[in-house]
Amino acid sequence: MKAVIKRFFSTKEGTLFGIFLLIFLFMTLISPGKFLSVYNLQSMAYQLPEFGILALSMMIIIVTGGINLSLTYTATFSMIVGGLAMSAMHAGGSSPLLSVLVGMLLMLVIAALCGVFLGFVVSYIGVTPMLATLGAMTLFEGLSLNITKGGAISGFPIEFLVVGNSTILGIPVPMVIFVFIIIGTWLFLEKSKMGMSIYMIGCSPKVSYYSGVKVKKILFQTYIIASLLAAVAGILMASRYNSAKESYGSSYLLQAVSAAVLGGTSINGGEGKVVGTIIAVAILQIISSGLNIFGFNRYLTNVVMGAILILVLAINFLVDRKSARK
C-alpha cells in the first residue's frame, strides 16, 4: 500500500496532486471556517467547470502541437449567435423549452463551423496554428461585435438559467456536465484510436504520416471537437451570466494554456494527460478563490499563480532530466 502511494506521488500527476493537497490545506488554514465551507465549495464547483472545459479544449490542441488562441472567442461567438436565436424565439412566443434547445443546438453548430474553419486553415491550407488562430480570434471577435454592437445579448427564458445555476442532489449542474466531459475527453484522447493518432501527430507529423495516419483529416477533426468543447463552456457561461457577450471569459484564454502546461502537457505537443489538466485547473481555482477570500492583493495573486506555474515546470523539468539520465 505504502509503495503504491509512493509510486503515485512520484508521477507527474501525483506530484501535482500533492501540491493541490498542500495548497488546499494552506487555504483552509489562512481563512478558518470560510474556505472550507459548504458555501465556498459549492461556489467553486460553479466556477470551475467553464474554465476546466476550456482548458481541456486547449489541451487537446496543444497535444497536436498547436495552440488555439481563438478558443474563448469561439465560445463567445457561438453563444452570441445561439443566444440571439434563443431570445428572439422566446420573445416571439415559442415554448421556453424549444427556444432553449434550439439555442443550445445552434451554439454547438456554430462552434462546429468555427472548428471546421480553423481545422481547414490549419490542416489543409497548412497555416501555423498560432497565426491561424490569432487571425480567427480577431475574426470571431469582429463578427460578434457586429452582432451585439458592443452590448450583451440577454432576455433568455428562465429555463436556460437551470443549466448553469441549479443543483442535482446538491451538486451544481455545471459540475455534473464537467464530469461527463472529463470522462468523454479521457475516453476520446487516451483510450481511442483517434486519440492515439493525435499523440502521434503531436510527436511528429511526418513519422505519423509515413506510419499511415491520416494527419490532415485527424487534425481537422480535432479542431472541430475542441471547438465543440468550447461551445459547451460557452453554454455554461451564457447561462451563469444570463447573457452573451464577446468579452466573457477572455481572461481564460492564457489561463487555459497555463492549466494545460501546469498539468504536464508538453507545449511542443505529443504529451499530456486529462487528469493532469484537471488537477491543474483545480489548483488554479483554489489559489484564486482562496487568496480572494483571504483578501490578498489581486496583482500578487497573479504573481503567486505565475510563481507556482514556474515552480512546477521547473520541478517537472528536473524530474525529466533525472529520469533521462537513469
Binding site: I30, Y46, N165, K245, F294
Partner: protein, 330 residues
C-alpha cells in the same frame, strides 16, 4: 521524497509570511467591498485612494479589489468568493450589467447590501446606485464645450474608449441627440472611432482621421486616454489652432496638452471623491440611513438624489483648462 519536502518547505515559508499579515486584521468590524471594472489604471487607482480614505475616516474595513482585465466573468468569480468570505456590503462597477445580475442576486440572498458605482448594474438588484454624474447632462456638457471651442458649424469626429462600454456609449448618444436639435450646423464625419482605452491607439486613429478629413475642426475624446491621444496627434501635426480637441480626461495627464492648446479643455469628476462617496453611502445604508437630496457629504459636497430614493448623483463635473489644471491632484 526530497522533492515533496522542498515544495512543502516553500509552502511553509509562504504560510508564515501571510499568517503574520492575517493577524493584523480584526474580524468583527464592518467590511465593505468596492470593486472597480479593473485594477491598475490611473482612474481606478485614484478611486481606490478615496475609498480607502473613507474607510479610515469612518473606522471601517474597506476592501478595494477587482480583476486585472476588464472581464465580467472574472468579476463574477471574485464576487462569488467574496460572498463566501462574508462581507457586509458590495459596491461594484460592472463590466457588463446583465452578467452580474445572477451573482448580485446571490449576494442579496446572503444578506449583503448591494450597490453599484461608476457604471450602473441591473436596477432590480441594487439597493443604491452611485453615479458620478447625470449621464445626459454630462453628454450635453461635452458637446457644449466642443461648440464653445470650434463654433457651431463644421466637421467633427468622436474618438471613444471602446464600443462596448455602456457609460461611454450613453454619453455619446445623449450628446449626439442634443447636437441634432441644439447645433444642427455640426457635421459628424464618421461613426465613433474606438481606441481600446489606449492613448497610443487614440493617437494613431486621430492621425488617420486628420488625413482622411482635412476639413476637421473638432474632435471629441470620450474615455480618459482618448482625448490625450487625439491631442498628441494634433500637437504633432501642429494643428492646434485649426482642430479643437475636447474630452473627458484626467487633469494631471492633460497638463502638457492643455499648455500648448492641443487639448482645449478636459472635463471629468474626481474619481477619488467618487470612491469616497461610495463607501460613505454604503456605510450609511448599513446603518439604516438613506441618502437625501441636497445632503452635504463631508469631503465630497452636496449630492443629488433622484425621486426613486436610490440613484445618487455626485454632482457636476469640473472643467480643466490651461489656467486651472495644476490645482487638481488626480
Amino acid at each position: 521524497m526530497k522533492r515533496i519536502l522542498s515544495v512543502f518547505l516553500v509552502m511553509v515559508v509562504f504560510l508564515s509570511f501571510t499568517w503574520a499579515a492575517a493577524q493584523a486584521e480584526a474580524d468583527d468590524e464592518v467590511t465593505i467591498v468596492v470593486m472597480p471594472k479593473l485594477v491598475g489604471i490611473p482612474y481606478f487607482n485614484a478611486s481606490e485612494v478615496g475609498a480607502l480614505q473613507a474607510g479610515k475616516d469612518l473606522g471601517i474595513n474597506v476592501i478595494y479589489t477587482g480583476p486585472t482585465t476588464p472581464d465580467a466573468a472574472e468579476q463574477v468569480k471574485m464576487l462569488e468568493d467574496l460572498i463566501s468570505k462574508g462581507v457586509d456590503a458590495i459596491a461594484v462597477a460592472p463590466n457588463d450589467a446583465a452578467a452580474l445580475t445572477p451573482v448580485l442576486m446571490k449576494a442579496k440572498k446572503a444578506g449583503i447590501v448591494v450597490l453599484d458605482w461608476d457604471t450602473p448594474a441591473d436596477p432590480s438588484v441594487v439597493d443604491l446606485s452611485i453615479h458620478q454624474i447625470d449621464d445626459k447632462a454630462y453628454g450635453e456638457h461635452v458637446w457644449d464645450l466642443l461648440v464653445a471651442e470650434m463654433g457651431d458649424t463644421g466637421d467633427y469626429a468622436i474618438v471613444t474608449g471602446g464600443l462596448s462600454a455602456a457609460n461611454l456609449n450613453s454619453w455619446i448618444d445623449y450628446g449626439l441627440a442634443y447636437a441634432k436639435t441644439a447645433y444642427p450646423g455640426l457635421n459628424l464625419v464618421t461613426d465613433k472611432v474606438p481606441s481600446d482605452e489606449k492613448q497610443q491607439m487614440a493617437y494613431q486613429k486621430t492621425l488617420d482621421l486628420i488625413k482622411a478629413y482635412p476639413s476637421l475642426k473638432g474632435i471629441v475624446g470620450i474615455s480618459t486616454p482618448a482625448p490625450l491621444g487625439a491631442a498628441q496627434a494634433v500637437q504633432e501635426k501642429g494643428l492646434a489652432d485649426q482642430i479643437a480637441v475636447v474630452g473627458t480626461s484626467l487633469p494631471t495627464d492633460s497638463g502638457p496638452y492643455l499648455e500648448d492648446g492641443s487639448l482645449r479643455v478636459g472635463t471629468l469628476w474626481d474619481p477619488a471623491k467618487l470612491g469616497y462617496l461610495t463607501v460613505v453611502m454604503a456605510n450609511d445604508f448599513l446603518n439604516g440611513k438613506t441618502p437625501k437630496n441636497g445632503q452635504d457629504v463631508p469631503n465630497v459636497g452636496k449630492i443629488e438624489v433622484w425621486d426613486d430614493n436610490r440613484t445618487v448623483i455626485m454632482g457636476p463635473p469640473a472643467d480643466f483648462l490651461k489656467e486651472n489644471y495644476a490645482s487638481y491632484k488626480f
